[in-house]
Amino acid sequence: MSRRILVVDDQPDLRLLIRLTLRALGEVAQAASAEAALAQLAAGKPDLLILDVWLGEGISGLELCRRLKLDPAMAGMKIMLLSACGQQSDIATGLAAGADYYMVKPFSPELLVEAAAGLLDS
C-alpha cells in the first residue's frame, strides 16, 4: 500500500522542492495554507504531514499541529514541522505542540528523505 504524505507550505517553490524530494516515499499531496490542509485532511488522513510553521495569514502551522494532535480522527498520523524558524526555543515550542520531528530550513533533501522515511516506518 502506497504511503500518503501531505505538504503544507505557503511558498510554491518549497512545496515543489519537498514534493520532488519525497516522491519516492509515496503519494505527495500539497496545500498552501492551514485551511486548505484541513479541507484535505477531512477527506482522508495521510500517513505523514510536512508542515511549515509560518503560513502567512490564518491558522499557523503550530496551531494546526496542536489541533491535529488532539483530534482522535488524526491519531497515528505523523507530523513533521519544517520551518525557517531555527532557534532552540522555536524547536522546543514545535515539539511541545506535539510535532514528531522538527527540521529547520534550509534543509538537505537527502536528510529530509531519511527523516520522513524514519517517521513513516516507526
Binding site: 498552501a32 502567512g56 524558524c85 531555527g86 530550513k105 534550509p106 538537505s108 537527502e110
Partner: protein, 529 residues
C-alpha cells in the same frame, strides 16, 4: 619655619601658639572691618581717663598691627616689627613702658626715635575664649609717665570690656552663621526634587518637604494622619532601596523608589524616608524593553525570511547534484534557484537600506529642493516593464511646488508605494500619481497621492502594512519581501513628513505621502515645540 625665624625682628616676638591665635583672629572677621562705635567709645574713654593723646584697640596680625579703634593715631596700621602690642600680648598682665628710651627693647624703635615720638606705653591684652590674646587695649604718650596699680586695674578692666564686646560680636556672628546654614538646609530640602518625610517611632509623619507634599497630594499636616506604611507602600524600616508604589492621599498610586535611614531626634529613633517618583524612569525602562523586543522580533523574522529563499537554493541545487532530471525540469529548477537567489540579494539590500535609514536618521540625508512631479516621472521611468509603466498616470500640481528633501530617498519611497499599487491591482488598470500643495498644521508642504483600483486593504492590513516583512496574503504570487512600506515609513519619518492609507477592500487603495516644504530640520524642530 626657618624662614619665619630669619625674617622675624627680635622686637616682634611671636606667641607660643601663634598659628592658632592668628586663625582665631581671622575667624573673628574683625581685621579691616569698618569703625564700630562700641569700640570707639572705649578708646575715647581710655584717652580721657588716663589723660593721654593716644588710645588704641590694636589687633596683632601676622605682619602688622591693625587698629580696630584709634584715638590720636593717624595710621590705620603699623608693621608688626615696630609693634609694642606684639610684646604686650606675650604677657599675662598689663605691659607698662614708663620711658621707651630707657627700655633696651624699644629704645631704637623708629616709633620712638621718629616723628611719632613714643615715650610711654601701657597695654592690656584682649583675651578671648580659651586664653587667646588677639591684641591689646593700649594707651600711648609722647612723654614718660608713671602708671600705678589702680591705673593698671582700670586699663585691665577696660580691656575686659573690649574682650566682652568682641565675644558679643562673635556670638552674634555664630547665631547668624547658624541661621544661614539652617536657611540653606531648609532651601535645600524645599528644592530637593525627591520627597523627604520624617516619621516618628509610631510611624506618623512628623515633617516633610514640599516635594513630598506635591508627591502625595496633601500638606504635611494632612499627611500626618496617614500611616507611613500606606503612603510609602511598605512598613517603615531602614532600607537602602525599595522599589514599589507610593500612594497619594486620594488613593491613587505612583511608581516609587524609597530609601529609609534611621536617625536619633531628641533621644528617640526616627526614620527619614526619601521617596522618588520613578514613573518616568519605569516608562523609559519599558520603552527600552519594547525597543529590544521589537529588535529581537525583527531579527527573528529577518532570519526566517533569509532562510526561506536559501531553502530553495540549497534544496534544489542538492537535488540537481544528486538526482537525474530531464533537461526541461532541470532548467526549471535552475530558474527557481536563480529567482530565489535574486530574491535573497534583494532582501539583503533592502535590509541594509532600512538599517542605514534607521541608524543614520536625518543626518544621513542629502536634502535638495525637489519637484515631486519630476520625482513621480522618474519613478515611472524607472519601471522596467513597459506595460506596467504605461499604467501610470501623472497629475502634476499647479506651479510645481518644491520641497526640501533627499531626492533618492523620496524616489525610493514613492517607487515602493507605486510597486505595491501596480502589484495589487489588475494588470490593465491605471495607477494615478497626483501631486498637490497642501498645508498641514500650519506648515506648507506637498503631497503625492498614489491611487490604484486594486484589491484594497482591510483596516487591520492598513495597520500591519508598515511592519517589517509583513505581506498581504491576498495575492501570494506577488513578489516582494514585506520591507517596502517599512522603508517608506522610515523615509517619511526622517523627513518629518506623513504617510497615510485610505482603502476599502475590493475598491482600491490610496496612499498619500506628505512632505514639509521647509525640510526635515525645520519641520522636526517645529514638531518638537
Amino acid at each position: 619655619m626657618m624662614m619665619m625665624h630669619e625674617t622675624l625682628s627680635p622686637n616682634a616676638p611671636r606667641t607660643t601658639d601663634e598659628e592658632r591665635r592668628l586663625q582665631v583672629l581671622i575667624d573673628l572677621d574683625l581685621l579691616d572691618s569698618a569703625p564700630d562705635e562700641r569700640f570707639d567709645r572705649i578708646t575715647r574713654l581710655a584717652a580721657r581717663l588716663f589723660d593721654v593723646p593716644t588710645a588704641l584697640v590694636s589687633l596683632v596680625d601676622a605682619d602688622r598691627q591693625w587698629f580696630k579703634s584709634r584715638v590720636g593715631m593717624p595710621l590705620s596700621e603699623t608693621p608688626r616689627s615696630l609693634s609694642f602690642c606684639a610684646h604686650a600680648i606675650q604677657q599675662d598682665d598689663v605691659m607698662v613702658i614708663r620711658d621707651a628710651c630707657q627700655d633696651e627693647r624699644f629704645a631704637t624703635n623708629p616709633m620712638v626715635l621718629g616723628d611719632a615720638g613714643v615715650r610711654f606705653y601701657a597695654g592690656s591684652p584682649i583675651e578671648i575664649g580659651d586664653g587667646v590674646r588677639i591684641g591689646t587695649l593700649c594707651i600711648v604718650d609722647r612723654v614718660p609717665r608713671e602708671f600705678g596699680e589702680d591705673q593698671r586695674t582700670l586699663l585691665r578692666d577696660l580691656a575686659g570690656i573690649v574682650a566682652n564686646e568682641v565675644a558679643a560680636l562673635e556670638l552674634k556672628a555664630v547665631a547668624e552663621r547658624e541661621r544661614r546654614s539652617a536657611a540653606a538646609l531648609r532651601a535645600l530640602l524645599e528644592h530637593l526634587p525627591d520627597g523627604v518625610l520624617l516619621f516618628d517611632p509610631e510611624g506618623r509623619t512628623v515633617s516633610c518637604n514640599p516635594a513630598a507634599e506635591r508627591m502625595f497630594g496633601a500638606p504635611c499636616q494632612t499627611l500626618a494622619s496617614h500611616p507611613a506604611a500606606s503612603l510609602i507602600g511598605m512598613q517603615p524600616k531602614a532600607v537602602a532601596r525599595h522599589e514599589g508604589n507610593g500612594q497619594r492621599v486620594d488613593g491613587s498610586t505612583f511608581a516609587a523608589e524609597v530609601s529609609i535611614a534611621e536617625m536619633l531626634l531628641e533621644g528617640q529613633t526616627h526614620l527619614v524616608a526619601t521617596v522618588r517618583d520613578v514613573a518616568w524612569h519605569r516608562a523609559e525602562q519599558e520603552r527600552v524593553r519594547a525597543a529590544n523586543e521589537r529588535r529581537h522580533d525583527y531579527f527573528r523574522t529577518a532570519s526566517h525570511e533569509l532562510r526561506t529563499p536559501m531553502a530553495s537554493i540549497l534544496g534544489f541545487s542538492e537535488l540537481l547534484l544528486k538526482r537525474e532530471f530531464d533537461a526541461a525540469t532541470g532548467r526549471e529548477l535552475i530558474d527557481i534557484i536563480h529567482r530565489q537567489a535574486n530574491r535573497l540579494i534583494g532582501l539583503v539590500n533592502q535590509m541594509l537600506d532600512l538599517a542605514r535609514i534607521d541608524s543614520g536618521g536625518s543626518a544621513q540625508m542629502h536634502p535638495a529642493p525637489l519637484d515631486l512631479t519630476q520625482v513621480a516621472a522618474r519613478v515611472r521611468d524607472g519601471i522596467d516593464d513597459a506595460a506596467q509603466a504605461a499604467r501610470i498616470r501623472l497629475q502634476p500640481a499647479a506651479g510645481s511646488p518644491q520641497v526640501l528633501a533627499d531626492p533618492l530617498r523620496v524616489q525610493q519611497a514613492l517607487a515602493n508605494i507605486v510597486a505595491n499599487a501596480l502589484a495589487y491591482s489588475a494588470s490593465d488598470s491605471p495607477v494615478t500619481l497626483a501631486v498637490a500643495s497642501q498645508e498641514r498644521a500650519g506648515r506648507p508642504g506637498v503631497t503625492v497621492t498614489v491611487c490604484d483600483r486594486g484589491v484594497g486593504m482591510t483596516a487591520e492590513q492598513r495597520r500591519q502594512v508598515y511592519d517589517a516583512f509583513w505581506r498581504a496574503g491576498a495575492l501570494p504570487d506577488v513578489p516582494g519581501n514585506g520591507l517596502g512600506m517599512t522603508i517608506v515609513r522610515e523615509i517619511v519619518a526622517v523627513h518629518c513628513g506623513q504617510v497615510e492609507i485610505a482603502s476599502t477592500p475590493g475598491d482600491g487603495t490610496q496612499v498619500t505621502l506628505w512632505l514639509p516644504q521647509a525640510g526635515a530640520a525645520e519641520a522636526c524642530a517645529e514638531a518638537d515645540r
